[in-house]
């Protein structure tokens, strides 16, 4: 498998008037094309910072980020970032919301529009495309947010605790939804979370981070049948074994 993303000796220091914070110190991560990697770690260990660096929103103090062979210096359509909250624009219809990224990079044309329309159709949002975000449930809104991210055909998806704003029931359903969308679109994804079971249910590989400054403490390869959904994984005995393993690493 070919390497799609590489973080090479990344460290980052935040400066503020009162103090300086070493958020990441000499972080090395490498991710292959098509992988679904989960990054778990205690809150404040620098997970969001890692994603912001991969996306090119902040520059690392030292080190390089390479995506598909190119050094990242600023945000590019190769990387799609999905936040904790859906951040849909209330004044735009669902379909306009999903076209936002294409508009920004000036790639809105009949072909890309058709692709987005197809995504909306495929994932059960077609009849809502002229609706406004307030008319949708939390789970549907998160699905729209994912389609908005997919619209500009990124090679890597960055998901920053995308389910933490949802209630438990919805969360389980949306995890299945999002996981199947990412699988069927054959995307590489990095999921950041502090929810151990979410990481085990969704990913191929878990990176456990130490507390600040975040370093990769342990990498756990998950061995589940490819066809299982997150919900089905949760029912297997293996699931609990992995849970114990990650739990021990975290505490």
């Amino acid at each position: 498998m070919d390497k799609l993303l590489e973080l090479d000796g990344i460290s980052l220091t935040y400066h503020s008037k009162k103090s300086e914070t070493l958020a990441l110190n000499d972080l090395n991560i490498s991710i292959n094309s098509g992988e679904f990697v989960a990054i778990v770690g205690p809150s404040g260990c620098g997970k969001t910072t890692i994603l912001s660096i991969i996306c090119g929103l902040i520059k690392p103090t030292t080190g390089n980020v390479i995506v598909a062979g190119e050094k990242v210096t600023k945000p590019s359509p190769k990387v799609g970032y999905m936040f904790q909250r859906d951040n849909l624009f209330e004044w735009l219809t669902i379909s306009k919301n999903t076209l936002l990224g294409l508009e920004i990079i000036k790639k809105k044309n009949p072909k890309t529009k058709a692709y987005v329309k197809e995504l909306l159709e495929k994932y059960g949002l077609k009849e809502f495309s002229t609706h406004y975000p307030t008319e949708l449930s939390g789970g549907m809104r998160q699905r729209v947010a994912l389609i908005r991210t997919l619209a500009s055909s990124p090679e890597i998806l960055l998901l920053d605790e995308p389910f933490s704003a949802l209630d438990y029931q919805t969360r389980l359903v949306v995890q299945d939804d999002i996981s199947s969308i990412i699988k069927s679109e054959k995307k590489t994804a990095i999921l950041v979370t502090h929810d151990i079971s979410e990481a085990i249910a969704m990913s191929d590989r878990i990176m456990v981070l130490s507390s600040r400054p975040g370093k990769v403490k342990k990498i756990i390869n998950l061995d589940f049948d490819k066809s299982l959904s997150p919900f089905e994984r949760r029912k297997l005995p293996k699931f609990n074994e992995y849970f114990d393993l990650v739990w021990r690493e975290l505490s």
Partner: protein, 268 residues
């Protein structure tokens, strides 16, 4: 699609309707009572109608005024000045707010000046305005703009700065530049705030223009107020106030309608 409601719900709806009607009724009743009381004390001689005027005198004055016709030109002048002050200060204030937002260092530099300008009683600048712009329409509109523009700028800027940081990050992660962030996010997100600013501005523009007319003019409703106050024609003073109330109410109403349309379009 006709919905079928339960009996309880029908009862509830009827009660709601009854409440609304009752409130409107009480509002009108209050007005009638006040006017009646006013008329009574003036008629019975408890107070001197020369000082307090009375509803019937106001009504008569209104009839004479509007059959005479010169009042229309006074209304026209004041309305024109108010609209001009309102439009110019909204556009200019909005423009300044956008500039400051796009260049935050400038905002930081100018902040203390804005605060001082905002707390300064603008009437204090009256003499200066008259010297600079001369007596007349220009000075009056300038007064109106002066009163509106600082608060417009500050309110709009605050609205821009209140846009959610995560939404800005979202656009940045898509590769948006500053202008795209402004037009795709900040301006549309600030629309409700913009309408709130318009509402405040309508009131402020009236204050500014009437004040301007007090200071320097030979026509307009503000002029009528000062002139008739000086010659103790209290009937005219009261009547002019009534006309002002109606005009300000109409302008506020127009903006409320605009707000309603915008909200309807946004959240259907």
């Amino acid at each position: 699609m006709k919905k079928i409601y339960s009996l309880d719900h029908k009862k509830y709806l009827r009660k709601q309707l009854f409440n609304t009607v009752l409130i409107h009724f009480l509002r009108i009743l209050l007005l009638v009572l006040l006017l009646g009381l006013w008329e009574y004390v003036a008629w019975s001689g408890l107070v001197d109608p020369f000082i307090t005027s009375s509803p019937s005198r106001i009504f008569n004055t209104l009839v004479t005024l509007f059959s005479g016709g010169s009042i229309w030109s006074d209304i026209g002048i004041t309305l024109y000045e108010t609209m001009l002050a309102f439009v110019i200060s909204t556009i200019l204030g909005g423009f300044i707010a956008i500039c400051l937002y796009m260049c935050l260092p400038l905002k930081r530099i100018l902040e203390p000046y804005l605060v001082i300008l905002n707390s300064l009683p603008k009437v204090a600048l009256g003499p200066l305005i008259i010297i600079w712009f001369g007596v007349g329409t220009k000075a009056i509109v300038a007064m109106g703009i002066l009163i509106c523009i600082v608060i417009t700028t500050i309110s709009m800027l605050n609205g821009f700065c209140a846009v959610e940081e995560e939404k800005i990050m979202l656009l940045k992660s898509m590769g948006a530049n500053k202008l795209q962030i402004l037009f795709k996010l900040v301006l549309p997100a600030s629309l409700p705030n913009f309408i709130a600013v318009l509402k405040i501005n309508v009131g402020m523009a009236w204050v500014g223009v009437i004040m301007g007319e007090y200071l320097s003019s030979g026509a307009g409703l503000g002029y009528l107020l000062v002139y008739n106050g000086q010659v103790f024609n209290l009937d005219m003073v009261m009547t002019t106030i009534v006309i002002l109330c109606v005009l300000a109410g109409i302008m506020y109403g127009l903006i409320a309608i605009l707000e309603y349309c915008v909200n309807k379009k946004r959240n259907k």
